[in-house]
Symmetry: D2
Amino acid sequence: MMHPVKQIEIKVGMTAKELVQEMAASGVMGAGRIAKAAKIAEAMAQDKECKVFLGLAGGMVPGGMKQIVLDMLKSGFADVLVSTGANLTHDLIEALGYHHFQGHHQVNDAELNKQGMDRIYDSFMPNGVYEKMEDFFTAHFEELRNIENISQFLWKLGELLDKEDSILTVCYRKHIPLFCPAISDSGIGLMLWGKLAQGKEVKTKAFEDLKDMMELSWTAKKTGVIYLGGGVPKNYIQQAMQFSKGAMYGIQITMDRPEPGGSSGAELREGISWGKMQEQGQFVDVICDTTIALPLIWAAVKDKVSE
Amino acid sequence: MMHPVKQIEIKVGMTAKELVQEMAASGVMGAGRIAKAAKIAEAMAQDKECKVFLGLAGGMVPGGMKQIVLDMLKSGFADVLVSTGANLTHDLIEALGYHHFQGHHQVNDAELNKQGMDRIYDSFMPNGVYEKMEDFFTAHFEELRNIENISQFLWKLGELLDKEDSILTVCYRKHIPLFCPAISDSGIGLMLWGKLAQGKEVKTKAFEDLKDMMELSWTAKKTGVIYLGGGVPKNYIQQAMQFSKGAMYGIQITMDRPEPGGSSGAELREGISWGKMQEQGQFVDVICDTTIALPLIWAAVKDKVSE
Amino acid sequence: MMHPVKQIEIKVGMTAKELVQEMAASGVMGAGRIAKAAKIAEAMAQDKECKVFLGLAGGMVPGGMKQIVLDMLKSGFADVLVSTGANLTHDLIEALGYHHFQGHHQVNDAELNKQGMDRIYDSFMPNGVYEKMEDFFTAHFEELRNIENISQFLWKLGELLDKEDSILTVCYRKHIPLFCPAISDSGIGLMLWGKLAQGKEVKTKAFEDLKDMMELSWTAKKTGVIYLGGGVPKNYIQQAMQFSKGAMYGIQITMDRPEPGGSSGAELREGISWGKMQEQGQFVDVICDTTIALPLIWAAVKDKVSE
Amino acid sequence: MMHPVKQIEIKVGMTAKELVQEMAASGVMGAGRIAKAAKIAEAMAQDKECKVFLGLAGGMVPGGMKQIVLDMLKSGFADVLVSTGANLTHDLIEALGYHHFQGHHQVNDAELNKQGMDRIYDSFMPNGVYEKMEDFFTAHFEELRNIENISQFLWKLGELLDKEDSILTVCYRKHIPLFCPAISDSGIGLMLWGKLAQGKEVKTKAFEDLKDMMELSWTAKKTGVIYLGGGVPKNYIQQAMQFSKGAMYGIQITMDRPEPGGSSGAELREGISWGKMQEQGQFVDVICDTTIALPLIWAAVKDKVSE
């Protein structure tokens, strides 16, 4: 029994959720995938046996996605977070009182450099943040240097920052496991390097978190994965899935192509061969800029997520 | 004076328009572009001196975008339409009573072929439509064969189909200039070939429409362009812009890349060098699947468009 | 029996053909596809029953691909050519003695406009070409205006230009069928519009060429297709394939994505559902900038193509 | 003084280097960028004051690029290597005697899973490699567990493997600094997890390598960067550049788009705003599958690289 493609109808005043319902009735191409992602996200939210692993890559904080990530964490929708170091650094920067700014990508970068502005496509960040970060890490170095797990280290940052609208703080307060395997590859890493360069020791270990990460996957009755971008966060969750039963639900939002063979652009179904995804699972690859797709998907499911 | 990137906030029950306003407040990356496109569309709609040229390429009818295009035409938002032959063929097919169906892209195409299903990515069309089309063209051939302009030919199709929800009919009824330079490259073209192959003559001329098209551009006080996909529709409008004052407003939605040098992926600003765009114009390239971006943009501006 | 991925080895002084042989031995990802395309091109060249249809879209002449296209035509490798109007216009411009220039994409387009330079990504064309084109069309208008087929019209252009290194001339001299359904969407179209605007008549018909095009497909024992970019050229050849036995060989080079559902990005296997491709055919989608992939592929097969 | 775009000419028997020279004479679009990359690579090779940092991401070993990377290391062309964990794991797997296999991307992944084959796009890896890896890590665990730097840990792996054609071994033997910040996100990481899960300790630290990495950048007279893919390797090198004088030379090969704002797709010029790149530096973004672009570039410069 096949369903006809309903032509999407826009009504004045319609809610974002109704818009996604129209996309579901259309059911094809990008719109169909947005709708499918919303449906899968709702299924994850309502399946009480499902542990949701959220991977965060690309310029999500400079790109305006922080509040939605906070929603996912605060509401209990996401159970585990894996992030790039950059997104946590940008979160920390905002927690320290800085903003990112609306810029443009057609600019003279040398001119920007003179103005002390760092460019993240069309989002600008004042280079002065590094000084403030340094102050913060200097003030708290003793509390941080002896932590052996990266995840504990990040929770401690969240505790110290103590800001309602910080990803780091929310993970700490709600005891949401937060991983960042490549933490040294970030502004946070640079701050620690500053201390190492002064001959100080930092005890954080590289492999330690694997125990917790793998156990979270291993002990879950069911797992769901959400990848905002690819990179290490996706791959780190994928490898944890391989040693559980494989994910039952999956949503990936990316603009990367699969053909060149990298993990970031790989279709979710590829994971079935590895045992990272279940053959009978519900998956969708949304080929879209995350800053467009994610707000739309979240607007369609937020009411189904218990606060 | 720089604006901070506001983190996008999703509220339960928010309208699609409010969602785009959040994207405007964020102001960066894909979300920022969606919001900018909405702003420019609104400016076009409210600038009474502006003639809007709409280019339609890619699988817009099989992809569920027909109703939004009809909105744009019926409301007076779009003043001129340029389309691929394929979209007009799919419009005709739906006007003849057929549907497209929700399929999948991971299929056995040989199996589909045996089932008589033609695939347009994940939208399926029964091959049987060709017979019905043939009946239609046979019944009306005498009314069509002597029309010298492609645009008049298309209006005649619209008149004959006489369906409220057909792009062809709406253009005919509202006397909206409708161009399709590559009409022979389409199912409609194939139907005419059937007659030519029987030794009959079809008088439609290849260059004739240029007079009307160029005059529409030439006589406009201001022009705006909207490109859903690239191809001939974009290029044909662009070349008309070159011989007017250049477009004052521009929105392009595409996933094509600019680097390989084709017209479809070219950034709108490139048109400034040619005189196709005005230097002071308002333009935006939305890098997104049209079936995602267009519904969102239209939901944000439909209330500002006079019916 | 599976073949191991051989790590590609570069030897000083190796030929481009040997490089593609290394890619064949690797056999995966982009390199594997380049090698497969070369293998299929060789099979097409050596299958004497195969008629090869070449589709030409994107900035191929401004992008430096003209000589390879000429090779394909002069050597008898390509039997039928379908082009965008733009590529034929750029060919005509070069035949009139102009060049394209090496520019840059990071430029001030308004500045370029003042300098009279039209930009095609990073290839620049002096705007002055339009005057010279106008002189040419004024001088030859009487010879052109009464030609009823676009293909005959284009051969006549080739005859009049009479230049060894012109695609138009080579098609004329070698009687290679040359189609351009959207000819009015091009600089050539603009020239004709100039005459129409003066009240003159141009008799070229829109559908007429379909007879020849479809017969070329219909009467071929076997067919092969090569798509450099998508657009009308690809689609026009595809629709001809649908009414023959379907293509036996296929190579497509494109950077467009399949997911948004347009014809340009559609994978060749999709054509099997329509009957445009044979299930047992040999096909490959090369996801690459044509200006990189085509020279490499052609370097690997040129010695197998009879001059 | 502008240079005309020379139409690329293919000669039977031409070398790959001559092909790239033709691309240089064309000078535009993808071909122009390949040629520019070759020119910059040659400049890096011949500038004795330049330290070259190579970033390795995506499926480079399963994709057949290992031998070229080995060339770059053995010849002294690359002075520092930063890799994803995956590429080092695949290198280790090949050093243990396994191969990757030429597969296909249009497959039944559940079927593959039953056959014990893991898919990396169209490159297949037998799942049995994990057992052999486990044996290796069990045999050598005592030699590995107490190493505090990831880079020393990786050199030790190279020493233990002791294979001429292993990236790990070559880095060890030639004392080429080798970094992998996200080592825990890889098959190698999984092996260590196996030991941690047994209650054993692994002393490798997360931040320790930053000292060496930053000093390598800091002490260089000039720096050059080559990014095969993006991810952590690119970003880790970029952040080191920020705290030196900025890179003087840069080549990036990627298919990722810049618009969504992630680091992997970011144009190199963006780095100028951060001070990661020098304004007067020579940079190029090659928008291409690495498995196509890299062999071509390397074939053009290998003779200029001292063995």
